[in-house]
Amino acid sequence: MQAQTLEGGFAHPATDAAHAFRGVMEAMARPGTIQILAGATPPAPLSAAAGVALLTLCDTETPLYLAGEADCESARAWVAFHTGAPITGPSQCMFALGTWDALAPQTAYPIRTSEYPDRSATLIVECAALAADGASLTGPGIRDSASLSLPEIQAFHDNAALVPLGLDFVFTSGDRIAGLPRFGASVPLNTGDMACDRRISAMFKDLPGGQVLGPTFDYTHRLLDFKLAAEGEVSDAPTREADQGPVPHVTEFLDREGLIEDAPQDDTPPPDLTHEPLEMPAARADEGFSLGLAYSTRRGYGRNHAFVRELRIGTVPVEMDIPELGFAIEIGHVTLTECETVNQFKGSKTESPQFTRGYGLVFGQTERGAISMALVDRALRWEELGEDYEGAPAQDTEFVVYHADNIQATGFLEHIKLPHYVDFQSELELVRKLRRDIEAPQQRRDAAE
């Protein structure tokens, strides 16, 4: 890769990006005004302003379509390094860049839907010249009228007729939210590569590789003696020579006979809750909440009798594709707890009787969380497997998913400690009024007696 394609980004990313974003916002909020965008030097044929707009508006979550001459090796490499935006075709893109002729036809791009009017494509049109003359513009953000040299007029009339749907053009848009920039997503973890600290199975005692208990209080009663840690008298853990090869999952036993359902590899990208509305099923649950739900399935609410086929704790390397390198590298490692359960399944009209699976995977060393997730995962699959709906909370996807999110639950719950003075005053007034309405006839009766 040419070093040149790695240069030409913002020299001072924070301030340059803020100025550029302001410029793009101004251009969008005041149609017809021409803003100066500088600070980036993209490779030809991209203009500096187009480069700045890309740096400001695009990231790994915004598919970009490079039209015509803009779609060249150097432009692709520059975009990949500086924004990470995936290159795509017109029908999939959120942003498109090119000359007016190269971008045509406009019907190729996603316009909005009335449910999500923010999902249309934004077209960055490269023009030979841009001047405040030509077509007359009126509407929101314009005092009286403004003029702009548009490449043609009819297309914009057609687009305006689609309001509130339609495409955004040129000096447009974007909704930038403060927070950590997201660089992308990891390659899905291969938990078969886990360096296990603990790995047990409740189903097979002769597990290939052995039952490795790891740091656990299974089979022991342990009373906390705080002196042990406080006085620094923790003895070193015993060690034994170890074989450090990969530790494959205990799958082959039941798989061989077709007794357990398959989980074939599938590379559909998962939806991202921060960008797309929640669709069932999905979860990022609080551990305590999942524990309660999982316990309810054990007590008979949406019963699924589970065996722990395998429970493992250990570290797994995290790999990520790096666009500027062109290959995946390890970017670190995480500690995970993984639990696979096996459940009886009587079969349905379409499926033979076999064992089905529940799956739990959580960050850190928390087997309670992983087991809970596996049980709830299995309980939620009643519909897919054609089982009966018993009305149990753990079977109700809407109930589970919407109440499992710790962040949302905490926020909504804790806001009640913040000032509600006016709310309370109105309730107080209401209660006083109701009491007056009841007490007044009573007093009249007392007076009459």
Binding site: Q2, L6, P188, V318, F327, E330
Partner: protein, 151 residues
């Protein structure tokens, strides 16, 4: 001006090694090995997050498990060699050191880097992994079932 690295597996290995090093370690080793070489930023160190994905059932459809923090940067030495770093956690100095080592590995300083930085890092990593594995191996058990008169 060319970023001419054809030993991709090698580069993968050393970038991964530095990404997994304990905090501060790459910086210390690089400082001990060489005076800091002059460089210009292509991308100043920045902190962000990466979505970590798992697969349903370990092998099935991917799902978003959560996020981890990452620090990354890219720089260019005066000779034109480009170094990249993507490392776990939030340590800009370590990211800078890792990118410098990545760039220096493409220069005459490669041997020094191997002996003074990458070599020690690798030994330490092997030692860490072995200790963990040996502790785990010491907890290995066999379960016996009483004969139940079936045979």
């Amino acid at each position: 001006m060319k970023d001419t690295i054809d030993q991709t597996p090698d580069r993968k290995a050393w970038m991964g090694l530095m990404a997994n090093a304990p905090q501060g370690r790459v910086t210390v080793l690089l400082e001990a090995a060489l005076p800091q070489p002059a460089h210009t930023w292509l991308r100043a160190p920045e902190i962000g997050s990466v979505i970590v994905r798992g697969r349903a059932g370990g092998t099935g459809a991917p799902f978003n498990l959560g996020e981890m923090t990452i620090t990354r940067c890219a720089l260019k030495l005066t000779g034109g060699e480009v170094g990249h770093a993507y490392i776990q956690g939030r340590n800009k100095a370590d990211a800078e050191a890792a990118a410098l080592v990545d760039a220096l590995m493409q220069t005459g300083a490669a041997t020094v880097m191997r002996t003074k930085v990458l070599g020690p890092l690798e030994q330490e990593q092997v030692a860490r992994r072995t200790t963990r594995a040996e502790k785990a191996a010491a907890t290995k058990v066999d379960f016996f079932t009483m004969v139940r008169g079936e045979d």
